[in-house]
């Protein structure tokens, strides 16, 4: 019997959501996610599905333990995000969200580079639509920047794939040796993983989407990249140091960040750094560690973003410098957020503990002791900013004012479906923390690692306790102000403007010569895009579908 591809289920679901009456789009979205989850769980290990494309035999579906682990958690977070956005998502978000999930699952189940590239680019396009769903000038701008950056990554990836095809005659997606063609593929993957200095698109784009859209974004882009790195480049030593740099970079930026969703976006970079470092070690235990950490991360980061999204939904604010004092108004959001915060910090009995221990121990076990200690330093920064700084400035202290709006307060109640999604995510995080086998049984190879030993629990307890003491001593320095941190995106956001400004000033400084008429002044450019964002996005999706259809017919 032919296998039912979960990505196809989600893409069909996206098409259905695009046309059905508005009132049933929410249940159809959740049902599509559940159907995809059922399709993933029904896949047998070793299942494949191939198709012919011109003279090539391509593999649409390759189910092994690595791909199934990622596909399973992708399907789970699709259901949770759909539930979370039940009352808030519009049709565009639901359609684009399901398509993004489908593309993400398509990536992890792809058995060859051409199929991978198709789903990869489909994901980029649909993610742009999710960002544009924020429907603000800032979202439009961030979406276009995201598209520009990822088109560059896509071109590099395609160039690498074609180069490799010419070199070897093969489109197989397996473990690569680093060379010219695979080097281009690697850069394309690292850009999508938000590796420093190719990272700025992530904190630029994610906070600009809607509250539910950000949950979808956090799950698929960087984790798809983690999967392809684990598949293509395990054991590439360079990745260890790329990962360690990401882990430290992310927490340093998070410590000074004011916007709570941007803060968590920087933590995605940091946590993905742990995974990339483990992939760089490349042993079976390390790839298990990266996969376990990615799986747990999707769950707890989803929960964290749901929590701060609920704060934003209820108060209309996302800057810590304009929040505070919400513990009485939003106590359950605080409790659920803290489950995510304890998980990401690796507190025992929460999902991050076994996952992070496995990943970090494997780095040390591979002989990279310095990298292991630097990852522990990143863990200190994670606990400091996600579990201490963020909740304290958001839920405690005096409510802060912003402009003429007065102190932070709840202006509307949070839908029950938001609480339900957060509750399920919290239970899953605790369940994995209490019983790590739930996570370890999904891993690519058998896990013999014992997370709960006295030494590991005591070491973690010491790390967390003394970070808390450090926070107590330095807490006054950790109160964020209304500031914006420049990142490497400065080079493509500000530098061109500066150059234009310098050139412009040069023009203004021209000394008028007698008898030479002055040139007329250029009119100011329009401040809004010429086309509405959905027209542009729809055109891109339409063009991709058309190209695919023509290719298949040809």
């Amino acid at each position: 019997m032919p296998e039912l591809h979960p990505a196809i289920v989600l893409l069909v679901g996206a098409l259905i959501v695009a046309v059905v009456p508005r009132r049933i789009t929410a249940p159809v979205t959740v049902l599509s996610g559940l159907a995809a989850l059922a399709a993933v769980l029904s896949l047998d290990e070793g299942a494949t599905s191939t198709y012919s494309f011109y003279t090539y035999e391509l593999t649409l579906l390759r189910a092994d333990r690595l791909s199934l682990a990622f596909a399973t958690i992708f399907a789970v977070i699709t259901v949770l995000a759909a539930l979370y956005g039940w009352a808030t998502m519009g049709r565009l978000e639901r359609t684009a969200g399901l398509a993004t999930a489908g593309a993400g699952i398509g990536v992890v189940l792809a058995g060859d580079l051409m199929t991978l590239f198709f789903f990869w680019e489909l994901k980029v396009t649909t993610v742009v639509l999710i960002i544009l769903a924020g429907r603000r000038a800032r979202s439009d701008a961030a979406g276009m920047r995201y598209l520009g950056v990822h088109l560059v990554g896509g071109v590099l990836l395609l160039a690498g794939v074609l180069w490799r095809l010419v070199e070897t005659g093969s489109l197989e997606f397996g473990q690569f040796e680093l060379g010219g063609a695979t080097g281009l593929i690697l850069v394309g993957f690292l850009l999508s993983a938000a590796a420093v200095p190719l990272n700025a698109w992530l904190p630029d784009a994610y906070p600009e989407s809607t509250v539910a859209g950000t949950v979808v974004l956090s799950a698929f882009t960087t984790k798809s990249a983690v999967y392809v790195l684990a598949r293509g480049f395990p054991g590439l030593e360079l990745l260890i140091w790329v990962g360690v740099t990401m882990a430290i970079f992310g927490v340093v930026y998070a410590i000074i960040e004011d916007d709570i969703r941007r803060l968590l976006s920087y933590h995605i970079i940091s946590q993905v750094g742990f995974m990339v470092a483990a992939i760089g070690v490349g042993t079976e235990a390390a790839v298990n560690g990266a996969t376990a950490h990615a799986t747990a991360h999707i769950l707890y980061k989803g929960l964290l973003l749901m929590g701060v999204g609920a704060v934003l939904y209820a108060t209309g604010r996302s800057r810590a410098s304009a929040l505070g004092g919400l513990s009485r108004a939003l106590p359950w959001v605080l409790v659920l957020y803290m489950v995510g915060a304890f998980s990401i910090s690796g507190v025992p009995l929460f999902s991050g503990f076994p996952a992070k221990e496995l990943a970090v121990s494997s780095v040390g076990g591979g002989g990279y002791t310095v990298a292991q200690w630097l990852l522990k330093l990143a863990s200190v920064g994670t606990f400091l900013s996600v579990a201490l700084k963020l909740p304290v400035v958001t839920w405690f202290g005096e409510p802060k004012t912003r402009g003429d709006e007065g102190p932070a307060r709840v202006v509307r109640s949070i839908p029950i479906t938001m609480y339900l999604a957060m509750g399920i995510a919290a239970v899953a995080n605790i369940a994995i923390g209490v019983r790590p086998a739930l996570l370890f049984d999904l891993m690519p190879t058998t896990v013999t690692f014992e997370a709960y030993t006295a030494a590991k629990v005591v070491e973690t307890a010491m790390l967390l306790t003394f970070t808390t003491i450090g926070y107590w001593l330095l807490k006054a320095r950790l109160v964020p102000g209304p500031k914006f941190s420049l990142d490497t995106d400065w080079f493509y956001r500000q530098l061109p403007r500066r150059i234009v400004a310098v050139v412009d000033r040069g023009g203004e400084r021209r000394i008028p010569r007698p008898g030479v008429p002055e040139l007329p002044t250029m009119p100011a450019p329009p401040t809004r895009p010429v086309l509405p964002s959905w027209v542009l996005g729809g055109t891109i999706v339409g063009a991709m579908v058309l190209v695919l259809a023509v290719s298949v017919v040809a």
């Binding site: 769903a133 800032r138 509250v211 000074i256 108060t315």
Partner: protein, 92 residues
């Protein structure tokens, strides 16, 4: 929170800070000895020093790379953008 605890958390004296840190380090080292840690006291000291390094390093970096919000996005201060986004796209 009781006044004593409140004072301890929000306004500790220098002697209190030193006492808490030294006391905690001693207790932590003893626990690590009992747990059979290879180098007792290493992780507590590393976490504490690491916190200082990260916070001061980040603040130092922030003094270079952070700009007042008004310079980047004046509308952000007015609050209109966040509220609009929080309301979501709906089915507009």
């Amino acid at each position: 929170m009781s006044p004593a605890l409140r004072r301890l958390w929000f306004d500790p004296s220098l002697a209190t800070r030193i006492g808490v840190v030294v006391g905690a380090l001693v207790i932590a080292t003893l626990i690590e000895v009992l747990a059979g840690a290879s180098v007792p006291g290493r992780m507590p000291a590393y976490a504490l020093v690491g916190t200082f390094v990260l916070v001061f390093g980040a603040k130092r970096l922030g003094s270079v790379i952070q700009k007042p919000l008004a310079e980047i996005e004046p509308a952000e201060l007015a609050g209109a953008t966040e509220v609009a986004m929080a309301e979501g796209a709906g089915d507009a």
